[in-house]
């Protein structure tokens, strides 16, 4: 990889100052960034290591019942935090279905939000990629695109956002706390990631030097705790990205859905919140009829971006199943294989 400067700031302010320089990148656990540097897809001239910054590794319950998660909290630590996992079981389930046990033990929640697409053409410096090299074209459009986006893509880019965690976060209206050269600000996660349009190189709203310091989950999401699931379809049971995933959460009272949350993963350049489907579910009786209708609504705008039409049908089925699982109730204990379609098979081993 290219030579680079390594800076280990002592405070958030120092970090922001150091990262505001052109060519700088924040380094957390590096589980994605270092891989990209090794293959030459990213070549930052300066790494600003934020792992050791004070105060970013805490999971807090605020007075209003909301959660505030420091950006340097490790994925595994958040998923195994009993209070958090009880309040947001589908977030914990999504976390535990991501990457591998080894990666979850080091990867941070801030890094998870900031991870890059796994589009093979993005990762391959010899390929044209508008995201990596604006204006160079998109080799995925006519290439091996079986797993690419079916929602929100453009002729410039058909990559997907790979995160599981973010799918559940966006379903529950997570907010991103940001510190930058101009001060602090908050952005709803749903508005944080950007669709490609004609500027796929711009993946999120962060400006130069801005640092995610925390994620917040509002307290009113707690009413979904009894009926929520994350379901992830993938081509092996661990260490594989979602072909399609979905977070479904239902607030059910007296046999009627009072409110619903639905988000999809693996289908777009951002975690995809399905508002129209949520609206359809509101007031409906939980069941196959309502869920299939919601699934159709969630994918109403979907279009294949290549040899991936199956993902649209698959996504409908995943949404339908996730809603059925949510309606059946949050499992008392985390399934042995979190988010797996086989999570409830008796006798299946519990090591992912």
């Amino acid at each position: 990889m290219n030579p680079f400067d390594y800076i280990r700031p002592a405070s958030v302010a120092e970090a922001v100052a150091a990262a505001a320089e052109p060519g700088a990148a924040y380094l957390a656990a590096g589980t994605n960034l270092l891989d990209l540097m090794k293959v030459g897809a990213m070549r930052p001239g300066r790494l600003v290591d934020v792992r050791h910054l004070p105060g970013l590794d805490r999971i807090e319950t605020l007075s209003d019942g909301s959660f505030r998660i420091g950006s340097m909290v490790r994925n595994a630590d958040l998923a195994r935090d009993a209070g958090f996992a009880a309040a947001f079981p589908a977030v914990a389930e999504a976390l535990l279905s991501g990457a591998s046990a080894q990666l979850r033990n080091v990867a941070t929640v801030g890094g998870n939000v900031m991870q890059r697409t796994r589009c093979a053409y993005f990762q391959d410096p010899a390929s044209a990629c508008n995201k990596r090299n604006p204006g160079s074209g998109c080799d995925a459009l006519e290439g091996e695109n079986r797993t690419h986006a079916v929602l929100g893509w453009s002729g410039s880019c058909i990559a997907t956002h790979p995160s599981d965690f973010c799918v559940s976060l966006v379903a529950f209206d997570a907010v991103v706390e940001i510190v930058g050269p101009a001060g602090t600000r908050e952005v709803p996660l749903e508005e944080f990631h950007l669709l490609p349009g004609t500027t796929p190189e711009r993946e999120c709203v962060l400006e130069a030097g801005e640092l995610i310091v925390a994620l917040r989950l509002p307290s009113d999401a707690g009413r979904f705790a009894a009926n929520q699931r994350y379901l992830k379809l993938r081509e092996r049971t661990s260490f594989a990205f979602a072909l399609v995933s979905a977070t479904a959460a239902l607030d059910i009272e007296d046999g009627t859905i009072r409110s619903a949350r639905l988000a999809l993963g693996g289908v777009a350049a951002k975690p995809w919140r399905a508002h129209a489907a949520e609206a359809q579910l509101q007031g409906a009786a939980p069941g196959v009829e309502a869920f299939e209708q919601a699934a159709r609504a969630a994918l109403a705008d979907a279009m294949p971006s290549g040899a991936n039409a199956f993902k649209i049908e698959l996504a409908r089925r995943v949404v339908n199943r996730a809603l059925l699982l949510a309606a059946a109730g949050t499992p008392e204990r985390m399934p042995a294989m979190p988010a797996s379609a086989f999570s409830s098979v008796p006798g299946v081993l519990s090591h992912v």
Partner: protein, 756 residues
Amino acid sequence: MSDAITLPAPHVRLGSSSGQPVTRRDGHLKVTGAATYAADNHPAGMLYAVIAVSTIARGRVTSLDVEAAKAHPGVVEVITPANRPPLSLDPDEKVGLFGFRIDALQNDRVRYARQPIALVVAETLEAATEGARLLSPTYEVEPARVTFEDGEAYDPPAVGVGAPPNFAKGDIAAGHAAATHRVDTTYETPAQYHNAMEPHAMVAEWNGDHLTIDTPNQAIVMSRALFAGYFGIPPENVLLRSPFLGGGFGSKAIMNGPYILAILAARMMQRPVKMVLPRDQMFGPVGHRGATQQHLRLGMDAEGHLTALEHNAVATTSTFDDFIEPAANASHNLYASPAISTRHGGVRVDIGTPGPMRAPGEASGSAALECAIDEAALACGIDPLEFRLRNYSETDPASGKPFSAKALRECYAEGAKAFGWAGRPLSPRQMKDVQGRLVGWGMGSAMFPCPMFPATARATLRSDGTALVETAGADMGQGAWTALAQIAADGLGLDVERIEFRSGTSDLPDGGVAGGSGHTASAGTALHNAGTDAIARLAEIATADRKSPLFGAGNAGVEARDGRLYHRGDETRSESYADILARSGNASVEGNGTGARDPKDAEERAMFSHGAVFAEVKVDPDLGQVMVTRLVGAFAAGRIINPKLARSQLYGGMIWGVSFALHEEAVHDRRSGRIMNADLAGYHIPVHADIPDMQALLIHEDDPYVNVLGVKGVGEIGVTGTVGAIANAIWHATGVRVRRFPITLDKLILDPGMPA
């Protein structure tokens, strides 16, 4: 004196060591990190070499920015076709039986993506890596051809390692004409890459015209000569050290360009050089399993007996060398049919040359054959196990020769019993679990030949009653060190703990090739014979020594056990090895052995390991997600030296079968020819959670002909049978017959046979 009749000495006497589930002797070293793999060596003054590889699949390199690379701090040399010193062998020539053409910067041609186009040598790995990037090659690009359709078809003169491409027995047309039921089906298997956990690695150090190389290798002494050949030095000037391998699977038995370039760099720089291939470079110059298209036509009479078995396979190879996956040969030796016809075709594409990859031909061929047999059973309305029994071959279908031993019937019976096969519904989509998932059962027959490679060994009995045994064997992780030591101990009549076993370097007697599932048989037989030779010499000393209690035992003979020689006629007369040696004045006595099969048996008998694999899968009816929930394999492979290690090998093979059936595929971009999933995140192999509860049953089999030990092999057979069993179980669960591996969920959910 006893008046009992003394029986003639048995041909082989195996003591208490063989057959025991001894824990692998290198286990502690490996789990504690103390085992020294090739890349763990850091000789003083060592430089790092990194290969620069092409990003195009066909064309010419038109420029390399050598100046930029050399200007990078730490870079000391850049080797390109312009300054590459000559080699003593032409890289474009094939040398020896396992010879392959290699890419060693002989010119500016590019013949596949990730072909070496330069080598950068630097003081650090980071500098060499960045130097390679700074070369910024430009190319004259020609269109890449990586698919069957785009490639150039040809008739290969040979398949696999020198096997004939075509075979015919009986009248295949008449067989088809006579058929009441017919199956005509085509299966495709993708390009697969070995991806041993340990990538290819080389640490090379020259001392004058002597070369020491630390490198993982499956054929240590044979490879030594080839390494020497490229550099024009005698084989004995090369010391190849390969004590541990982190997997080989065939790819580490074959020479490759990067190794030669690293050694060349060490000679140019007069300093030791280390080169370790990064994972993505494992997808190019170091072999793979070529893709296949296999067309099978089967004819059956009204009772379900095969009347014709026709298997035509086309496989991809490179544009500049030939290795055709001998897939159709899987139909030669398993099922009885009066007419068998197999043919192979080749298609030249812009890829690195394929090579032997665990069960080369058998794996891909068995996958297609066992699925076709399942289709044939269905066409006849017969249970797949019953169909296989009706077509059971009592003699080798291809040659008509008797089998040296064949306990396949017992494998079927024991496997089916352990699995609970009885009562399986004939039609698909008949079984569901309590969650509503589709359940299917499938099976496949497993088979693998029993080659032996020339091997030699030395056994030295020492005055302290211990022994040194030596052979240049390769422990790829399969446990060769342990099983071979067990055999050696028995040959010497010693406890295995009294054996010092030396292996893994080229200055030892040639242990042959750790490949073809023949290492235990080959090196083991050599070790056994070396041991009995040493004992014979010791017995000569003892029986000629008037002071020995064994004096004059010549006619009755002696027997070696527990470190003593016993008079066969009188068990009260015995003496320890140490005492015999001490009195004789010899510090030690040495025996030598070779491992070879009786040529008469080899000529007269067909020799194979056999097995039967049963699989249960569950499939989500809406989502198409597949889980293999049970795998039972029953294998008959002659004498099992170490059941614990043998089972582990069989498990490994069966897991490989899961991988073949459900996961593995190298995905080429058709335009650039590059493999787009050249890493272990993108190139899927199973994780633990994909692997079900498995059983590997070891079925008793006495094979008096295969070799003096009765040992066959277990390294590869587990792959065969398993792939078909899983594919057949998926069909049985869903009614969907996926004929293109791997069976991924998109192929299931979009099939009209799988209604939502």
